[in-house]
Symmetry: C2
Subunit: 445 residues, 2 copies
């Protein structure tokens, strides 16, 4: 990237006019008054906007032709620590613990590993087309969020670079094996940068495969790319790091914006969370309860004291999977023949997304009986998404229990599917699989 850090044309002229540089703390008078730090742009950015990061960690783009004045509040200076870090990143010196700023010298700062797998958090927007493409490396990400260096020392590694809709169970295994290799490391915790589309599937798998993992693992994404005005990448990463350093917990969490509020970040239990909105930043929700932890606007960690999570003490890695599991969402007009087809193509387990408390129509009874005779595991969840299946209330439910369907309580359909793939891969027979499905491994119930 050029010395002007992505600014060109009119935007670069504007920077020169007011004698400001990326990293400076500035105050812009336009339609409103904006105070914040001038952020870098990326190569394909337009030349019509400046981007500043507000105190909230929220980025805004300001149109050049609306700017009336810019005042410099303070110039950006590279602190000795940051200079040191940049040298480590560029391979100029070896990574070793460095002291904290301003007299608070310490040689045992917390260390966090940032593993990048791709996704919006590691993407940039093309301002000409409005499209987002994977581009940033873990290094870029770290460099873009200066605040991280106040929290811990970071190591970074790119595992792969995929949007999460392209991730498959093989990728889950790859992530799990990487984490397993770090079970005895001196990291305080591990951040996985991940696309948001399927991050709750990945968090479920890691929760089961690495039950009892000795250090906390957080999966972090962003709904808007990190160089874009209104990106949530910075605030999510900062909160995740703070959470790893201060929460004194273990388990797999998904860390994202809490709701429409710009300032609060939620740490969801990896098996209880779901993406419930296509685009808003607070898209992820803990189903049937509150998040396990909240990171407040002042970066305090608040624990949800109503629930207890991850009681399993001993680390018990079981990193195998068998994907011969199908998710079947029942609806009026569902053709029972489709279940026959699943049996014939070697499917070994079906997770039903039933209606209401866990029902399917009686048109399905014959094929369910047949599936059971073929030794498939049949689990019931609800397409209502929230609430709990209860199959003893209505005739339909009792009929299905008689046919051998296993109710999966309040497990989400997505977590049930992933757990079934995992249980199938880690069981020698149908009884063991059923017993694993009903055991609370990672706070999924």
């Amino acid at each position: 990237m050029s010395e002007e850090q992505g600014y060109s044309g009119n935007a670069l002229d504007c920077l020169k006019k007011y004698n400001i540089k990326v990293g400076d703390s500035i105050k812009i008078t336009a339609d409103l008054t904006y105070s914040g730090i001038l952020m870098p742009r990326y190569e394909s950015g337009d030349d019509k906007h400046l981007v500043i990061k507000l105190g909230s960690g929220y980025n805004v783009g300001i149109a050049i032709d609306e700017i009336q004045e810019i005042q410099v509040v303070s110039n950006y200076e590279v602190t000795p620590d940051e200079a040191h870090r940049l040298k480590i990143q560029k391979g100029l010196i070896q990574d070793k613990p460095i002291g904290m700023k301003s007299g608070n010298v310490s040689f045992d700062r917390d260390k966090i590993l940032l593993l990048s797998t791709g996704g919006t958090i590691a993407s940039k927007i093309d301002y000409r087309t409005g499209a987002v493409t994977p581009a940033l490396t873990a290094d870029d990400l770290y460099e873009a969020v200066h605040e991280l260096s106040d929290i811990a020392n970071f190591d970074m590694e790119v595992l792969f670079s995929e949007y999460s809709e392209n991730l498959q169970p093989d990728h889950w295994i790859q992530i799990a094996e990487k984490l397993d290799s770090l079970a005895n490391s001196n990291y305080k915790g591990i951040i996985i940068a991940h696309g948001t589309d399927t991050m709750h599937y990945t968090s479920s798998f890691l929760s089961f495969a690495l039950a009892g993992f000795p250090i906390p693992v957080v999966i972090v994404g962003s709904q808007r790319s990190s160089d874009r005005p209104s990106s949530d990448a910075a605030i999510n990463l900062i909160a995740a790091s703070k959470f790893l350093v201060e929460s004194n917990t273990k388990g797999v969490f998904l860390v994202m914006h809490h709701n429409d509020n710009d300032q609060t970040v939620a740490c969801h239990v990896g098996t209880r969370v779901r993406k419930n909105h296509t685009s808003k930043r607070g898209a992820f929700e803990t189903m049937g309860g509150d998040p396990a932890f909240i990171v407040t606007p002042t970066l305090e960690i608040q624990k949800n004291i109503q629930d207890d999570f991850f009681k399993d003490e001993k680390y018990n890695p079981r990193i195998r999977i068998d994907t011969k599991v199908s998710l079947v969402k029942y609806h009026p007009g569902y053709d029972p023949q489709l279940i026959e087809n699943l049996i014939q193509t070697g499917c070994k387990a079906i997770i039903f997304e039933g209606t209401g408390l866990g029902h399917v129509g009686r048109t399905m009874y014959d094929v369910i009986k047949n599936a059971k005779e073929n030794d498939l595991f049949l689990g019931m969840t609800s397409q209502c998404i929230d609430g709990r299946v209860r199959m003893t209330v209505y005739e339909s439910g009792r009929d299905l229990l008689d046919l051998g369907i296993t109710p999966l309580e309040n497990m989400t359909p997505e977590t049930s599917l992933v757990k079934a793939m995992w249980a199938l891969g880690n069981s020698k027979d149908a009884d063991e699989m059923k017993s694993l499905m009903l055991k609370n491994i990672a706070s999924e119930f």
Copy 2:
């Protein structure tokens, strides 16, 4: 039912002791003080509780052995109007308009038709097993909710008696044809009593099949059976009737408890609503917005003025359906072969529940191409449930657009599925189907 209306043993003794009868307005002193009307019980009810209906329409059961005193506030008397109505119900006299109470005599009272299809609203609970079975007829239901006679005159008809998980598209056709036969009737509106599991699928179908229907149709259910303490049957029916009489609208609505508040009922547009909780009374939600109307605790009708619904003026019945449509929820590990199987078994349209903004993994591209070559209609929705698909933002979305997938905006997956079955049944070719899918027929976008 016996003269004591379901009370026996200890409960009957209690009624005798205080000299009270079903229908009396009473005040019970127990752990708290309860004021309300003594409700009938059903034959299999226990003898340990009295059930009273509070002013809110909410029923509570009070344990006999906690009752300290019961005062009779006023005795139940059958008014001339009610006596008349009961005679009509029993076929003793012919149905004709009757005057309103207390001097407000009118021979043109509004008429509502109540069609029963089954479900919890037409069920009772077996207090021994806790299970709910279909038992009540439309007559029973009407008799149980005395307040309805203050709102309108009712005709009642049982179409069938099925829990809604057992309803199939054939039932939708049956309901639609019944309604179509009433398009020129003098009913102010029509209530369909329906199980809650699939009522949003039915409301979608009726919305499309009967677009522009000249009088309002409301589908009403209850999450708890009508003879059970905490049943929402009465309040939902009362609000639905009031809505039909006063709202001056048309269209198909789903009328259920608004949220956890006991007092408010929501009228959801039939194509924008989803069951989002397995058990709570406020389980139904309008996706991406507020309900079209609210019925307040004082039975006032409040219109949502932000949105306009059902602009289509002319009644255009198209009561056909073709169920060769599949709903495919994509997830990591989804086997593309399953799509090949769908093509081979004659499936003509697939509605994808993609991830995030409307994506599937690139492992699916080949089969999607093949499906397109076989002239299947391919529509994209999001498993996030809320929000809007936007396939121009990410590479994956643009790839899928290139492959011929049609983004279905903010239509819910369930409504998209039902609309696809309806559009397939009402189109002569793929182009006409696509055009129907993208046209806003019944406020589904």
